[in-house]
């Protein structure tokens, strides 16, 4: 055993650089794999741990106030699996925004509770740097989820001002602290915030009221099933579709959602680990094969000295096992360094804070797996030693036999002798070329996939816009129920700076969302309706065409794939127990709302939803129009609200002004609380007539959809760019290591030939180019294979999700050229080892 180890050490000493490169690969592989596995266990367990510790109840339903009925509680309680129920009144809106550091509006779903209400939802402690006295002194204190400190466009800290905007109204709060919100903890899901009792009351006048029903169940896994039963029973009882009237935040779904980003990160990491491991495996195989060739004579000597070939093979295995062991140990250290980082990422992405749990078992298992793999690969290769009994080993060392075809004889040289010699060299190393091709192809695949993904989401919202399958107007106006949408649209279109307007169903305000069922109420679809789809710019059919007639619909490509639907198929839609048949006339690449967008003309929608009226106006502005100015003007003209009428400072001094203000307040009150549709007034004072109408209250909210997208997709964007960059980075590192290692080995193996060539007057530069060129055919084939592979995968994936996405061919060509140049550069650098060869040293040997 000792002599075997001594041989191994001698080998390691001899190939220091190669050993370091291999160790590096194993360090990467180990660190990434074990961190990914241990990290995924830790990251996915954050939410359950947090929920166990802080949630008063594990499931929540937000039910719109005007839909809510106390009997719902009874319906829910009837399920025996439900163990506990509570309900609180909260404020919730999807049309809320906040001002970031630059004063830009950012969309964010918000719900508001008081401290007292919060105690029924969570029992999480509040983290704050302020003293009780300081907080008590604040006029409008607000407590945000941790994400307010960590992932908001403008990261906040205690004492900062947090401006919330609803319509044209601005509410200024001062951040008093942060806490763990179970149900609305992140920018992607919305913020639940704690405000003072008085602020709660004033917000209540404009922000929608929801009944938040909280419940626990046993077993916890049944929460989704319980909800679905409840859902059916509610619809049965009310005779009305639930649609978006109830928002469910169920434990199982929350758990899944909180882990989704972590899963993406882990997936990428595991993919990278596999790429690295393939590279390491190939490197081991080739190094052993090379070493045996190299040392065939010394192997002969060793065998003559009485070492068995088994012992010699074992010395190789031991050499790589030792290298791997070193790599695995350093890699484990790397994993321990990576884990807190991953944990932080998961906390930031999910918005939940839990302590880091390191699970040693997966790290240990990863280490063992890597060692076993390395051992097996090394040993199977090393057994080749057995093929050479001592005498043959001696002889083989002296004369390496070359038979077979003489490819590319030099007598046919046309252009450069260097190119020709490189080609000859290429064909002399076919086996190595195949492995190199595999390795580079996988790396190229990773890199190109990264680039394609990056390109898809590049130039800010291009891809996102295409993938939403929704129109991208400059502003979307949500119209009050009391107002006439078409009339208002007509009037807005006459305003200064407006290019065109379009009425539709698509609103960013959740409380306006409608829904239709399909497949016996198994699927819920969100109608996107326009009078005429030919006006649409962003909605395009990738198959068939957009709907024109009242029996036609188009669905998302994703939905069609999920339900195996194609153009020409029938789909039965259902709304409030009414069923109607439609023909699918087209597929739209849409990923928003999980592909549940349903494209249907106004006329067709009215067939199944007779009360339908467009609730949104999409406004396209001239390029020169100032967006913010226009929005203010628009809201002043048509977007007044109850809150405005309360502002005492806006009330003038004259009797007329006071009267009209009071009249406005009354109108707002009637519109908001008494279900009035249209109000006009005219008041006579002496010879003066003051008149007005509910028209100036026509707009409920205005939103800039591009902003909304930016905010909602922010997390996805950063995850995607992280993905792309890591894919490209790891591909570059792995290919560089492999190529450099291969070249160094090639130089070592062909020391004699290269020495002779130097003697004949070939310069080191010429030989470096020649050696580098030698692997280029394999590299080029690999890169093309990898690129085509990545493009195919990309095509397949996008085809399923959004329909055919064109691939940027010129960019692909540039990428291929850059990758080829990069590989050539690495090979040239690796071949630089030639400089160490001294001609005379060889000759005087």
């Amino acid at each position: 055993m000792e002599k075997i180890l001594r041989l191994s050490f001698a080998n390691i000493k001899k190939h220091k650089k190669q050993t370091i490169l291999l160790t590096l690969l194993i360090v990467f592989c180990m660190a990434i794999t074990s961190a990914a596995i241990a990290g995924s266990i830790d990251m996915t367990s954050i939410f359950p741990r947090v929920a166990d510790e802080y949630a008063v109840h594990k499931n929540a339903l937000y039910i719109k106030e005007d839909y809510y009925n106390d009997s719902f509680i009874r319906l829910l309680r009837e399920d025996e699996r439900v163990t506990d129920i509570d309900h609180v009144r909260v404020l919730f809106s999807t049309a809320t925004k906040y001002l970031d550091n630059e004063g830009e509006e950012q969309s964010l779903y918000m719900s508001f509770v008081t401290k007292e209400l919060e105690e029924n939802i969570e029992r999480s402690p509040i983290e704050t740097t302020l003293t009780d006295e300081e907080i008590a002194a604040l006029e409008h204190p607000i407590y945000l989820p941790y994400a307010g400190r960590e992932s908001l466009a403008s990261k906040l800290s205690e004492g900062d001002t947090f401006n919330i905007i609803y319509g044209t109204k601005l509410f200024s709060f001062t951040v008093a602290g942060f806490y763990e919100s179970i149900f609305m903890p992140a920018t992607g899901m919305g913020f639940q915030m704690i405000v003072s009792d008085s602020d709660y009351v004033s917000l209540m006048t404009i922000i929608g009221k929801y009944e938040m029903v909280l419940f626990d169940c046993d077993p916890l896994d049944d929460c989704v099933d319980i909800y679905l039963k409840f859902y059916d029973r509610v619809e049965e009882q009310t005779g009305k579709d639930i649609g978006y009237n109830i928002l469910s935040l169920l434990y199982k779904n929350l758990e899944q959602k909180s882990a989704v980003f972590s899963e993406i990160v882990i997936g990428i990491m595991l993919f990278m680990a596999v790429v690295i491991f393939i590279a390491a495996a190939i490197m081991i195989r080739f190094r052993i094969a090379g070493d045996i060739q190299d040392q065939i004579q010394s192997i002969g000597v060793l065998e003559a000295l009485g070492y068995t070939s088994k012992e010699i093979a074992l010395s190789y295995t031991a050499e790589y096992l030792m290298t791997a062991l070193a790599g695995v140990i350093i890699g484990a250290g790397g994993a321990f360094a990576l884990l807190p980082v991953l944990h932080r990422v998961a906390e930031t992405l999910s918005g939940h804070h839990g302590s880091l749990h390191i699970f040693p078992l997966p790290i240990l298992l990863t280490a063992l797996t890597i060692l076993i793999f390395v051992g097996v690969i090394a040993h199977t290769r090393a057994l080749a030693v057995k093929k050479y009994p001592p005498v043959q080993a001696f002889r083989k060392g002296i004369a390496v036999h070359h038979f077979g075809k003489n490819r590319f004889p030099l007598r046919n040289t046309k252009n450069s002798v260097h190119l020709r010699l490189a080609l000859k060299g290429f064909f002399d190393n076919m086996k190595q070329n195949i492995s190199l091709t595999v390795c580079i192809a996988v790396s190229a695949l990773a890199a190109v996939a990264g680039i394609l993904i990056a390109d898809l989401f590049a130039s800010d919202l291009k891809a996102a816009a295409r993938l939403t399958g929704e129109e991208m107007p400059d502003q979307i106006v949500t119209v009050m129920h009391s107002a006439n949408t078409e009339e208002l649209a007509e009037r807005i279109s006459e305003m200064q700076g407006v290019k065109r307007v379009q009425t539709g169903s698509f609103s960013l305000d959740l409380s306006e969302w409608m829904s239709l069922y399909a497949f016996d109420r198994e699927s819920c679809l969100a109608p996107v309706s326009y009078p005429d789809f030919s006006q649409c710019e962003n909605i395009q059919a990738t198959a068939g065409r957009l709907p024109e007639h009242d029996n036609e619909i188009a669905v998302s490509k994703l939905f069609a794939t999920q339900h195996s639907l194609k153009v020409g198929d029938d789909l039965t839609l259902e709304c409030n127990r009414v069923k109607k048949n439609y023909i699918i006339c087209g597929l739209v690449p849409s990923m928003s709302n999980d592909g549940t967008n349903l494209y249907i003309t106004e006329q067709a929608l009215k067939r199944i939803m007779p009360t339908y009226r467009p609730s949104a106006i999409e406004i396209y502005l001239e390029d020169k129009t100032d967006r913010a100015e226009f929005q203010t003007l628009l809201m002043q003209t048509y977007g007044r609200s109850v809150a405005d009428t309360r502002k005492t400072e806006s009330i003038g001094d004259t009797a007329e002004e006071r009267l009209s203000a009071e009249a406005d307040r009354l109108i707002a009150e009637y519109l908001a609380n008494h279900g009035a549709d249209h109000i006009e007034y005219s008041i006579q004072i002496g010879d003066k007539t003051i008149s007005g109408s509910s028209e100036s209250f026509a707009i409920k909210s205005v939103q800039d959809i591009k902003h909304v997208l930016q905010t909602q997709m922010g997390g996805i964007f950063s995850t995607i760019s992280l993905t792309s960059w890591s894919l490209m980075g790891i591909a570059a590192v792995v290919s560089a290591i492999i190529i450099i290692a291969l070249m160094e080995q090639a130089v070592r193996r062909q020391r004699k030939e290269l020495g002779i060539m130097l003697g004949l007057g070939y310069t080191t530069k010429e030989l470096m180019v020649q050696l580098a060129m030698r692997i280029m055919p394999a590299v080029i084939v690999a890169i093309i294979l990898g690129t085509v592979g990545a493009a195919a995968v990309f095509h397949l994936v996008t085809d399923v999700m959004v329909g055919t996405t064109p691939i940027n061919i010129p960019m692909m060509i540039v990428t291929i050229i850059i990758m080829i140049l990069f590989c050539f550069g690495c090979a040239y650098v690796g071949a630089g080892r030639i400089k160490k060869i001294s001609v005379t040293e060889l000759m005087t040997e």
Partner: protein, 252 residues
């Protein structure tokens, strides 16, 4: 006859385990054009080291080497490589053919690095190979399928394919049997008679007889020089006795 190569206080030393070993010491030497110069000396006296310093295979530690009036001692490795391929041909004791190439390609490899006209080269190579007695059926064989003598003849063709100004040979017959040796040496003699300058290292007297000037080296210094008429002249016995006397003087 004009000088083609000369050295100025040439020194070459190697460090062996930290110990500085001076192999060539302050050596001044002239090599004349069209001469068949022989370098003799005991094994380890620094013959090969001198040959490689002269031929631009290696750079001197101190002193200078002039090729014509060009000082090649300050050349970089790549400049030396270009210098070698343009001016020098080499024949080695261990032959050093490229094992992974056919006989023909071995020669073409050396030739194509400076000559670009492939058809002309192919013709020239074929002629030369035939001239040294390597028949057509051997051209596409690999070196390990040839005998030592055949290999060395291929080596010579490779060395002269670029019409070098000087042909260097380091004990070219050292690993050959006597019959093969004679054949190989005949080629050298023939080349020299056509005007080829040759510098050859040997420690074999029979081989040395082929030259017209013998330089004797001991411990890295020239301790004697002997001139004799060219090999073609008839007084074989006289040449032989003259050389023998010289070598005895040198302590051979």
């Amino acid at each position: 006859m004009s000088t083609i190569l000369h050295t100025d206080k040439l020194c070459k030393s190697f460090s062996n385990g930290g110990l500085q070993q001076h192999i060539i010491k302050n050596l001044d030497l002239e090599i004349r054009e069209k001469d068949f110069t022989i370098i003799m000396g005991a094994s380890g006296s620094g013959k090969s080291t001198l040959l490689y310093a002269l031929s631009g295979m290696d750079t001197p530690t101190l002193g200078r080497v002039f090729f014509g009036d060009k000082d090649i001692s300050k050349y970089t490795n790549d400049q030396l490589a270009v210098f070698r391929r343009e001016n020098c041909g080499f024949v080695f004791q261990s032959i050093y053919l490229l094992e992974n190439m056919t006989v023909f390609d071995n020669i073409m490899t050396g030739a194509l690095v400076i000559q670009k006209n492939t058809p002309e080269l192919v013709k020239k190579t074929e002629e030369l190979l035939k001239k040294v007695g390597i028949g057509e059926k051997l051209w596409d064989k690999y070196p390990n399928q040839l005998s030592g003598g055949e290999c060395q003849r291929v080596g010579i063709v490779r060395a002269i394919i670029n019409d070098p100004k000087i042909l260097f040979a380091d004990e070219p017959t050292g690993s050959l049997n006597s019959a093969s040796s004679r054949d190989v040496l005949d080629i050298f003699t023939e080349l020299n008679s056509k005007g080829q300058s040759i510098v050859m290292v040997t420690h074999d007297m029979k081989t040395a007889l082929r030259g017209n000037r013998v330089i004797y080296l001991r411990d890295g210094a020239v301790i004697g020089e002997h001139e004799m008429p060219s090999f073609g002249t008839n007084d074989i016995k006289g040449r032989q006795e003259g050389l023998q006397r010289f070598l005895d003087e040198m302590g051979w």
